[in-house]
């Protein structure tokens, strides 16, 4: 029997009814009195000087209330890596130069969307096109045009990791392989496009309702770009229709809506259309991987050297993090004694690349897991066995980088091995590929330079015992409101139904860094747990006094009963004590506070989850067409807070990561994305989904609330690698360029046939 009352129970979302009945209000649905509609004019050129912008005709159009250009801004460049000013490189509304097709140059507010759209056509921008570069491998040559002044070879950022002695280790290797891979881009394809409703009042106070993953970041960044104080900006995140990494930086909808509202002092709402969503928001970072891997004959991996050049697009965004993490996770989940990573992010005249679910790790896992299978084959070792031989274990220290406390990788390998055996002898042209992975539970490095705790929460217990939980965490569809409510209920000893959560409103909630890097369960969960415990301890003080107990006894609250731990029958009602306690505090509600910032947990994250996935595919050897038959994942995420939530995360991850491995791509011509619509952008849809299975492995993470850690992004890491390995098993061709489309499989099969002849 579980020691928990709420944790581990199968719970439907606390916001589920509102969402399935359509009553949940998203920014997209919101309307304010006197509200105007905004639209944004974007550059048709990948690289050009802005010679002039004439807005006079647009301003005269009936129904147009305001037009803004870069001249209406305070001329700042923004960036989310605030600790490094040289990485703040995006004006949002360009003043002198555009750097990709989609860069914003002007915005209009009008009485309706059609009028705003019509006004955009009346704005005349005189451009002087400049030479452009689209491929990062070309961008880093002397001949390439310079995209940002003073940035040599267009290298925006470089990151390096090294431990052991790689150069010496090669001499001890019995076998070394050297391979190149290309990882493609991917769009986030959120159901709700980027949108914002901004309203300046006449006292200069701004409220922004927006679809975001980090209300606190938007508050700070908007204030900075508008030249006002942080406290004068209130950012509210109503329900958010998906983020996946695309919505925690200040975007053009938020900034332009706020700037227009600042100018005209009326609410302005901007909703990006689907084409803008594809072309003028950030996307997954394409990466060019050069890897060398060496091992002993018995499969012990001795050294790995990784060189990566990433396509940065026009601006830095969260690219610095993706560049670092892809290097760090290239060593995962194995114990390389000697490792070297050199990563370079190149500016290009393409849509900026940034964070996307997995944050550089799906790319490194695809490459790493493909190469380990190749190495295993060369050495004649079973793919699961080579992973077992080198896999991370609990309390492993990644030299100079990370301390891994809980780790269930080996149990996951055992579970997947059993699963593969149970599938038995496969029909012809079928293959199962495996892929192992790990991921972080929130990031440690404070690149945003926040002075606040990474996560905080406030618990208020009201006279009837009901609890208001205030947290800056952002519910973006991942279920954090439910998870955090469950943690609060468990920690306080009340029912889930007693909790009412208020999240992601910077006007009433304490700051939190937001929903990215799989951080909410561990980081905000710890803050919520501590706040609930603070409130609980206050109640226990009153209860102990009232009961007159011997002070040697410990007390606890469970299921609304405040009792002695050793004699649970001796206690008092939680609801009665709440009333007494509030009276005893001169009528003040019981307030508990909690915060969490990781300390002494290395450079990357306070905890890591692990897993192994097996993908089964069936390939048609004549056409290269293949289908995903089954995807089974053995996964450990510490204590499972809500099993229903994890199942949802896993199914969604397979859809998204399967798409990355199988079909999603953003081909371009001279910097123009060629498939900017749902009709042309190929996703895995419900009917394409394979059979999926989750094998949950029990672990306990000492750093997590009730032993929990991440179960969000990590699940997207293994699938492309597992598919690649499965296609190789089924058809004998190794595809090193994502996505692994049937066309690429067909061409590889043709090449193989020719070679065999």
């Amino acid at each position: 029997m579980s020691k928990y009352s709420v944790i581990g129970t199968r719970v439907h979302r606390v916001d589920g009814v509102e969402k399935v009945t359509g009553t949940a209000k998203y920014t997209f649905d919101m309307v304010l009195p006197n509200m105007l509609y905004g639209k944004i004019l974007r550059s048709p050129h990948p690289h050009a000087k802005i010679l002039s912008i004439d807005t006079s005709k647009a301003e005269k159009l009936i129904g147009v209330k305001a037009v803004v250009t870069g001249k209406d801004t305070i001329g700042k460049k923004q960036g989310i890596w605030r600790r490094f000013p040289e990485l703040c490189d995006e004006e949002i509304l360009c003043r002198e130069k555009v750097r990709y097709i989609g860069d914003a140059v002007a915005a209009v507010a009008a009485i309706d969307e059609d009028t705003a759209e019509e006004a955009l056509d009346l704005i005349e921008v005189d451009y002087e096109p400049l030479p452009a570069v689209f491929n990062p491998m070309e961008a880093i040559t002397e001949e390439a045009p310079q995209i940002h002044e003073g940035v040599e070879l267009n290298i925006n950022i470089n990151r390096h990791l090294e431990w052991g002695n790689v150069d010496d280790a090669w001499k001890d290797c019995d076998h070394i392989i050297e391979e190149q891979y290309v990882c493609s881009s991917q769009a986030h394809v959120c159901m709700e496009t980027h949108d914002a409703l901004a309203s300046f009042d006449h006292n200069g106070k701004l409220t922004i309702w927006t679809s975001t993953q980090a209300a606190y970041y938007i508050q700070v960044l908007a204030a900075d770009m508008l030249g006002i104080r942080e406290g004068d900006v209130r950012c509210i995140n109503p329900y958010t229709g998906g983020g996946f990494g695309s919505k925690f930086e200040l975007d053009s909808a938020q900034f332009c809506a706020a700037l227009l509202s600042q100018k005209i002092r009326r609410p302005v709402k901007i909703v990006l259309n689907r084409e803008e969503e594809f072309t003028a928001t950030k996307r997954r970072t394409p990466m060019y991987y050069f890897v060398k891997l060496g091992a002993k004959k018995d499969g012990t991996m001795l050294a790995k050297e990784v060189r990566v050049i990433t396509e940065g697009g026009a601006y830095t965004a969260m690219g610095a993090t993706a560049l670092y993490l892809t290097g760090f996770f290239s060593s995962f989940p194995y114990k390389y004694p000697n490792y070297r990573y050199d990563g370079y992010r190149a500016y290009t005249n393409t849509a900026p690349t940034s964070a996307m679910r997995g944050f550089g790790a799906p790319q490194s896992t695809f490459v790493g897991e493909s190469m380990i299978d190749n190495l295993a084959e060369d050495l004649g070792i079973d793919p699961i066995e080579i992973r077992r031989k080198n896999g991370m274990t609990p309390n492993y220290v990644v030299p100079g980088q990370a301390w891994i406390q809980s780790c269930g990788l080996h149990e996951c390998l055992d579970a997947i091995e059993k699963h593969v055996k149970e599938r038995g002898k496969l029909p012809p042209n079928r293959g199962i590929g495996v892929s192992a992975y790990g991921f972080m539970s929130g990031g440690i490095f404070n690149w945003f330079d926040t002075p606040y705790a990474f996560s905080s929460a406030i618990v208020r217990i009201n006279i009837d015992g009901k609890v208001d939980l205030f947290t800056g965490a952002n519910e973006i569809g991942q279920g954090s409101n439910t998870t955090l409510s469950m943690i609060c209920a468990e920690a306080l000893g009340v029912k889930l139904d007693d909790i009412r959560i208020h999240s992601a409103d910077t006007g009433i909630c304490p700051p939190d860094l937001g929903a990215w890097g799989s951080r909410e369960t561990l980081m905000n969960g710890n803050a919520v747990k501590r706040a609930a415990e603070d409130a609980k301890n206050q109640l226990i003080e009153f209860a102990a006094a009232k009961m007159g107990i011997n002070i040697v006894y410990d007390m606890d609250i469970k299921d609304g009963w405040i009792h002695l731990v050793d004699r649970p029958e001796r206690g008092v009602s939680y609801y009665d004590i709440v009333k007494d306690a509030i009276r005893g505090k001169d009528g003040e509600a019981i307030i508990g506070r909690g915060h969490y910032t990781p300390h002494r947990k290395g450079m990357i994250s306070p905890a890591y989850s692990f897993g192994v996935q097996a993908a089964e595919v069936e390939v048609d050897p004549e056409t290269g067409r293949y289908k995903l038959v089954n995807v089974t994942t053995a996964h450990e995420s510490g204590t499972v807070i809500n099993p229903v939530g994890i199942e949802g995360q896993l199914e969604g991850a397979i859809m998204m990561a399967g798409g990355y491995g199988f079909c999603e791509d953003q081909p371009m011509d001279e910097g123009k994305i060629l498939n900017p619509s749902i009709a042309d952008y190929k996703l895995i849809r419900a009917l394409d989904m394979p059979e999926t299975e989750i094998l949950e492995i029990d672990t306990y993470e000492p750093e997590g609330p009730f032993g929990a850690k991440e179960a969000g992004e990590g699940l997207t890491n293994p699938t492309a690698g597992a598919i690649g390995n499965a296609v190789y098993k089924a058809a004998g061709v190794r595809i090193r360029h994502l996505p692994i489309t049937p066309e690429k499989v067909f061409r590889a099969l043709e090449a193989k046939k020719k070679q065999e002849k």
């Binding site: 880093i140 090294e162 060189r307 070297r340």
Partner: protein, 72 residues
């Protein structure tokens, strides 16, 4: 033994680590120091990008070894 960055005073445990820091940081003050020693920053980057082995770092670390070492 420690190595102190001549631009920002960050302490590294080896001249190679310090070279990694200086090229990685890559802002004006770090680049200016690199230029003052007769290196071209872009040339060091190119050495790094073109091949395995960290040749760009090694070139800079030779200078740092002589100039930034501090006996603890």
């Amino acid at each position: 033994m420690s190595y102190h960055c001549p631009a920002c005073n960050k302490v590294s445990h080896s001249s190679l680590d310090l070279a990694r820091h200086m090229i990685g940081r890559g802002d004006k003050v770090h680049r200016d120091w690199i230029y003052s020693k007769g290196f071209k920053y872009s040339e060091l980057l190119r050495l790094q990008i073109q091949s395995f082995g960290g040749e760009g770092f090694k070139a800079l670390s030779d200078v740092l070894e002589a100039e930034t070492k501090v006996e603890d």
